[in-house]
């Protein structure tokens, strides 16, 4: 059985000729940007970029003025950049790099859509693009996704698929919101999130490791169960006692000085404590996995558990620890979600756990890659929620599909080459 699973994994590799299709796809997107959106808008429309932060405290001492661009030429330029990326894939026959180019294409294309949508005169009710506001808004979503991706990385590097991140988010959110509402203390809420996440991680680990259950099924069961449980809690506890769900959000901890840097300041240095914690965790997990003895052992367990066991490493223990750690990280992610979003509702996490998992795959099971993928997905999700105000004739739901489409393309081997840990998702038994 394990041999079959290994075969399935081996087949996710990329046939060499396919990079060409990707290169051409990128070029087509570029050409669409040039001719579909750019040429024909005429010379009159202008698009304006502004960098003004919403929060006035970020104003001085540096101030960036507005930047007004001719829409047509800007789009032609951006389209040309995309065409260039596609051409690079074709000419240099990139296999590994194709994924990065597709990511860059997505970012440039999103920017082009913004430029196009905000043109004046045009249908848009918002006469400018506020880049700072976009980044600040995206940073919040990106943070949540990164918590989820890190959780996934911790579990899957040890060989256990944690598809229950969505449920752990929900658990952390619910518990965090309740504790903060009751005590007005986000620190306690965080502890609560760690505990509930770890417990849910333990449940997954217990079923997957002790009973060798199919990890995907167990994960889905945990999500389903917790979704039901959360609804139950909502109707029977939160509704009768609304003061347990008062919807407070955490205040930002701005870093003096740094927060005043244009664009960067409001995005990175005026955030909740959860943002800084996330940045610390990214560094810690990255360092731990690739520099330390602990990381070497974890990766060995995820790649070849028999080999790890043959030198006296306990596969079961390693997996338990990592899945519980991963659960705790996702639990904190849930609390962070509550801290920026406020009131709990049963569908509040709206698939973010799955997008985080997708970002983990797109980021090739590496913290740095996951951060890049989460940023891309975070920005596109933010835009999806906010593009309507620009009167863009695309519905939010379609745009929200974007991360999943990318993930399908990536895991089907259409883009680049992904290679999960060899023993990922395969139950380990000694005989």
């Amino acid at each position: 059985m394990t041999a079959l699973a290994a075969d399935a994994v081996a087949k996710v590799r990329q046939p060499l000729g396919r990079t060409q299709a990707i290169g051409w796809f990128v070029i087509v997107v570029g050409l669409f940007t040039v001719f579909g959106m750019g040429v024909g808008t005429g010379s009159a429309p202008r698009s304006t970029l502004t960098f003004t932060p919403i929060d006035v405290s970020h104003g001085a001492p540096w101030h960036l003025g507005n930047l007004t661009l001719p829409t047509e030429w800007t789009l032609v330029l951006l389209g040309a950049v995309i065409v260039g990326l596609g051409a690079e894939v074709l000419v240099r026959r990139l296999v590994k790099g194709a994924m990065v180019r597709v990511g860059l294409m997505a970012i440039v294309f999103l920017l082009a859509v913004l430029v196009w949508a905000s043109r004046q005169p045009g249908p848009s009710q918002v006469p400018f693009i506020n880049l700072t506001a976009i980044l600040v808004g995206s940073a919040a979503i990106t943070m949540i996704l990164i918590y989820g991706s890190l959780s996934g990385i911790l579990c899957e590097r040890a060989g256990v698929v944690n598809i229950a991140i969505e449920g752990q988010f929900l658990g952390g959110y619910l518990v965090g919101e309740m504790i903060d509402s009751a005590t007005n203390n986000w620190l306690l809420a965080t502890v609560g999130g760690v505990v509930i996440g770890a417990l849910m991680g333990w449940l997954l680990a217990f079923l997957a490791i002790r009973y060798l259950s199919d990890q995907i099924i167990v994960g889905v069961v945990i999500v389903t169960m917790f979704t039901g449980l959360a609804s139950y809690f909502n109707s029977w506890v939160l509704t009768p006692y609304p003061n347990l769900n008062n919807g407070n959000i955490a205040s930002n901890l701005a870093i003096p000085g740094l927060m005043k840097i244009p664009i960067i300041g409001p995005t990175f240095f005026d955030e909740t404590g959860y943002f800084y914690l996330m940045m610390g965790l990214v560094g810690l997990v990255s360092f731990g996995l690739f520099r330390t003895r602990w990381g070497l052992r974890v990766r060995a367990v995820g790649e070849h558990p028999q080999a790890a066991a043959s030198v006296g490493i306990s596969v079961e223990r390693t997996r338990y620890i990592n899945v519980i750690l991963g659960g705790a990280v996702a639990g904190v992610g849930g609390v962070a979600f509550a801290a920026i979003q406020g009131q709990f509702t049963p569908s509040i996490t709206s698939g973010f756990g799955y997008i985080a998992l997708a970002a983990m795959i797109f980021g090739r099971w590496r913290p740095s890659g996951a951060v890049a993928a989460c940023t891309l997905f975070g920005v596109s999700a933010y835009l999806a929620y906010n593009l309507q105000s620009y009167q863009v004739p695309i519905s939010t739901e379609i745009l929200l599909m974007f991360p999943y489409l990318i993930t399908i393309a990536v895991s089907a081997g259409l883009v680049g080459r992904v290679r999960p840990p060899a023993a990922d998702g395969i139950p380990y038994s000694r005989e």
Binding site: Q14, R293, E303, H304, V311
Partner: protein, 503 residues
């Protein structure tokens, strides 16, 4: 190190895998443990390496009883093991693999790569085992990967090395190199426990040979014992080690492969322009180290893998890229390489497995309804005539031994009208007795005037069975030779070099 096992007994349910095994390995000795598959060798090794706990008996190291609760214990006691399936993480470097579990660290739990490299270099120097510490293991050839395994064991300061079927994956040249390494390790005082079922190499390298059968020690003999004696000890009766066959009488070509190109799952052309012809009444044996395209070639012939270019003809008909169903119906018998995955359905009965490729045909089915009576009768007959040992034809196939499972496949394939037979690794994992049987059946098919293609990585089998021997290396046929060609020359063809002069 002097290792002594006293009365080791290990039971799995009602099966006694090891039954009061006594064994002594002296310092500097190469001690061979010889036995058939299922004789209990692997169980004994796992007990000795701490992966399993014995129910009874004790292990003494240098006269002192020890308890080995896990493999870490065994390693700390100076026991090193080179597993048959390498215990190496393919995506790690040599250094990372060698230090895994015993990592030198600096502050903050950081790995000390500099020290790891230095440790490897010193082991390399001491025992003459050259390898680049920073090479990624999956990029190394099998022979070097095995060397990494040995370095890993020596790096943990092993005094006793267990080598589990170490030559199974090697070319003859690599195997010779390994023997040299084993001798030099023994000369430097290391003890070696060498597990094998290959009689030739056992006699070549061992100081003492202990034979086990059905979980018991049958006896210890010096390497001067003949192969016939060793085989008789392994099987418990006299066996014929040579395949008896008359000279072939080849007639018209039946299986014709022309300029075949086939890609593997990664998209590489692993069969790269192969042409091969098998005539009626002859056995062509395809030799080669595993992973040189033999598997994909057979899959292409049998319709299990897409043919990129080239043709496959069976009895004059073009069957290139036809479905397996059409190809089987055209008269191709197929004994697959991985019988449990591709040859049988383990959870189904013996009777059902015997009609696995003809379930829709009369008399086994009529108008879409199975005739269970006919299926049963067919199975009863075949079990009888092919001597399949099973409690009943209704027993699930998983209850049969490996040899009997293979007999079920052989019976099924040979009991229908054939033009040609393709058999991949037909005796892999079988005991000497079953090997003898399968070989006789294959020769019988040939003598009935069919074309037979055998694929085997066992050189002995190839030379004994083939009327012509084709050698495959990196997707190409490097030569087609007579089975009387020397093993060395065939070995050279297996590594892609052409023998200086074929006599």
């Amino acid at each position: 190190m002097r290792l002594e096992l006293r009365g080791i007994t290990k039971k799995f349910g009602s099966l006694t895998a090891n039954d009061h095994i006594d064994l002594v390995v002296e310092p500097g000795q190469i001690h061979c443990l010889l036995g058939e598959n299922g004789a209990g060798k692997s169980t004994l090794m796992n007990v000795l390496f701490g992966l399993l706990q014995a129910d009874e008996g004790e292990i003494l190291i240098d006269g002192e009883p020890v308890r080995l609760a896990n493999s870490g214990d065994a390693v700390r006691r100076g026991i090193g093991m080179v597993h048959q399936h390498f215990m190496l993480v393919p995506v790690f470097t040599v250094a990372e693999n060698v230090v895994l579990g015993f990592e030198p660290t600096r502050s903050l739990d950081r790995l000390d790569y500099a020290r790891a490299r230095e440790d490897i270099r010193s082991v390399s120097r001491e025992f003459g085992l050259e390898v680049d510490p920073d090479a990624v293991v999956e990029s190394l050839p099998i022979g070097l990967q095995q060397r990494v395994e040995i370095i890993k064991a020596l790096g943990h300061d092993a005094q006793l090395l267990i080598l589990d079927e170490p030559t199974a994956v090697l070319t003859p040249q690599e195997a010779d190199a390994l023997m040299t390494i084993m001798r030099s390790l023994a000369a430097s005082g290391k003890s070696i426990l060498f597990i094998s079922h290959k009689l030739k190499e056992v006699r070549q390298v061992s100081d003492v040979i202990t034979v086990i059968r059905a979980g018991r020690v049958i006896g210890s003999v010096p390497p001067s014992a003949t192969e016939g004696e060793l085989a008789a000890m392994m099987v418990g009766r006299e066996v014929s080690l040579v395949v008896e066959k008359t000279a072939a009488a080849p007639a018209e070509p039946v299986l014709e492969v022309r300029d075949l190109v086939v890609r593997d799952d990664r998209g590489l052309a692993v069969v790269d322009g192969v042409s091969l012809e098998v005539r009626a009444g002859e056995i062509v044996a395809l030799a080669g180290v595993q992973g040189n395209g033999q598997t994909e070639l057979v899959e292409a012939i049998t319709g299990l893998r897409h043919v990129e270019s080239g043709t496959v003809r069976l009895a004059g008909r073009d069957v290139t890229n036809r479905s397996p169903r059409e190809i089987l119906d055209a008269g191709l018998g197929h004994i697959p390489e991985d019988r449990q995955r591709d040859g049988v359905v383990l959870s189904m009965s013996v009777a059902d497995n015997m009609v696995l490729n003809t379930p829709r045909r009369a008399p086994f089915a009529r108008r879409g309804t199975r005739n269970l009576r006919a299926v049963r009768d067919n199975a009863e007959t075949l079990v009888e005539s092919f001597d399949v040992r099973t409690s009943s034809v209704d027993a699930p196939l998983s209850s049969l031994s490996g040899g009997n499972q293979q007999k079920v496949i052989v019976a099924r394939e040979l009991s229908r009208p054939l033009e040609a037979l393709v058999a991949s690794q037909p005796t892999r994992g079988l005991d000497v007795g079953s090997i003898e049987y399968v070989h006789r059946e294959i020769v019988r098919v040939r003598d009935e005037g069919h074309a037979v293609l055998i694929v085997s990585s066992e050189l002995d089998e190839v030379m004994a069975l083939g009327d012509r021997v084709a050698v495959m290396f990196q997707g190409r046929i490097t030569g087609v030779v007579d089975p009387s060609t020397s093993r060395e020359d065939v070995g050279l063809l297996m590594t892609g070099s052409v023998p200086a002069e074929s006599r």
